[in-house]
Symmetry: C2
């Protein structure tokens, strides 16, 4: 497929034919093969080595209370994934099985648990940081699976995907400076891989009419930047990483303090690893062996 | 902590103090630090290189219909995790936010989606295999996050964890032989790492009274073996891997055929990567730098 031929469905089908992804019965949760995973891991390694940071992996499921506390259910209920399980006894279980095998709906037989799917790679970190951060602040990196309930035929819009995340905690100036430094760095690293990467001010998909205002404010205050790369089209390039400043939102919510006693500022940035991987396949073709040597050298040093 | 001091809560607290795991507000979904992740990745690599196989990664969320089709909701509803989201409009969203902020229960505001958490690393594979397998069958390996709704203070009993899985598809003899060969191999690789690993016939935690009979049949037919290592106690060692023969269950359900036209037999085996990692910390101490050189050489070759 020539790079100028932008068509998300053709691109999806091309990745399937090349064996890179394995389609399943629902959208946005396909399997990835070893070639896809190798590119993803190599890009992840290339980014991770750019900064020294504490390193954690958190599971795909997190404490549900986090969604409640940070306002996720107010702002993005349509994207949330709460985890429900069966709490009934013998007879209830038999009824459940009958409902399922008769082909009926059975979601109301399940009750909400204390965990939910993690919608943002940085969320599980903040509740683990209460107390005072060091004078120089703190930098943490994570590799987490995140979930967004938005099934789509468009391959870059997934329900489950991985994010290489960095979080900076500290005073307002150092945090904003760090976020902006990483925005430049993100553009650079993507361009060094041959991608036509460009930054832009962005907003989150807040729910409903009130959400439109919140998105406008977010843009006005330049709280969120994204780096975009053409994958599905040139006119509407795909966000492959985002760079967010949270003011003291998480510092206040989770009692994270700067040495002066004030609530800490935080910023986070995340590379959507599947999206970057797909952008590379779109740009350079489905076979990494044939990619330009500069790109190969950068990923397989 | 001396190796003879078996106490799951002390062991948990020791891993926390050593920084290996980061506790969160609910049980079984803690964070893992870079030392923990390095050991886990090294063990995973040591196992994966033991057999050539097609390689896939599937997301933590899978098609919900799989749970229905394979009978998971009949047999293990208490462990299932279905994913629910918000499908309402503006006014419903406002009501949901009010309920959450008043501290009330709100699970019934969420509706079941088409995805659920993956409870067994091999499940997402079978629906992708319809048709006739090659004469020599097929071997596939995967690294997937799985979910079991069983919150526990005991650190080896997690809600979210990773499994290095192998699946063999083919005729009954080759599949059973392969499963038994891997049982020996599993014991060997774990013993080579200094672990007191022993195999045993096992059963799954089927739900309810009827489940007791199913578990007995499973043991009688030797469908499931586990390799156990003392982590929490010597008397009740922890299963760190399992080896399962499914007869034609998945072959029939997902129309996977042997070249002779009959439904294929399948077997799967999985190493619980967090459990093996913890067994190593329990056996050799919390600092891998101080582990016996034979163990270090095997993991960091």
């Amino acid at each position: 497929m020539p790079a100028t031929d932008y068509d998300p469905i053709k691109f999806h089908d091309g990745m399937v034919r090349a064996g890179l992804i394995v389609p399943v019965g629902v959208q946005g949760v396909f399997g990835r093969n070893h070639v896809f995973e190798d590119v993803l891991a190599r890009f992840d390694a290339a980014v991770t080595k750019l900064e020294t940071a504490d390193f954690f992996v958190f599971p795909p499921t997190i404490e549900r209370r986090i969604l409640e506390k940070v306002g996720y259910m107010d702002n993005f209920p349509q994207l949330a994934g709460t985890v429900h399980s069966f709490f009934g006894k013998e007879l209830d279980a038999r009824k459940l099985a009958e409902r399922i095998h008769s082909g009926g709906a059975w979601g109301d037989a399940m009750q909400i648990t204390d965990v939910s799917l993690n919608p943002a790679a940085c969320y599980p970190l903040y509740p683990t940081l209460p107390g005072t951060v060091p004078d120089t602040g703190r930098v943490v990196t994570m590799l987490n699976w995140v979930f967004r309930h938005e099934p789509s035929r468009e391959p870059t819009r997934m329900q489950s995907f991985r994010v290489r995340e960095f979080v900076r905690v500290g005073d307002v100036d150092s945090v904003v400076k760090w976020r902006d430094m990483w925005l430049d760095r993100g553009v650079e690293v993507l361009r060094s891989l041959g991608l036509e990467a460009n930054p832009d001010v962005a907003s989150d998909p807040f729910f409903g009419r009130g959400g439109k205002m919140m998105a406008a404010t977010q843009k006005e205050q330049k709280l969120k930047y994204e780096v975009l790369v053409p994958v599905n089209s040139v006119e509407k390039p795909t966000a492959v990483c985002s760079f967010n400043f949270h003011h003291q939102h998480f510092g206040e919510t989770f009692h994270i303090l700067n040495p002066n006693g004030e609530a800490a500022n935080t910023a986070c940035l995340g590379f959507g690893l599947e999206r970057v991987t797909m952008a590379l396949f779109k740009r350079h073709g489905f076979d990494p062996e044939g990619w330009p040597s500069a790109v190969r050298q950068r990923l397989w040093p």
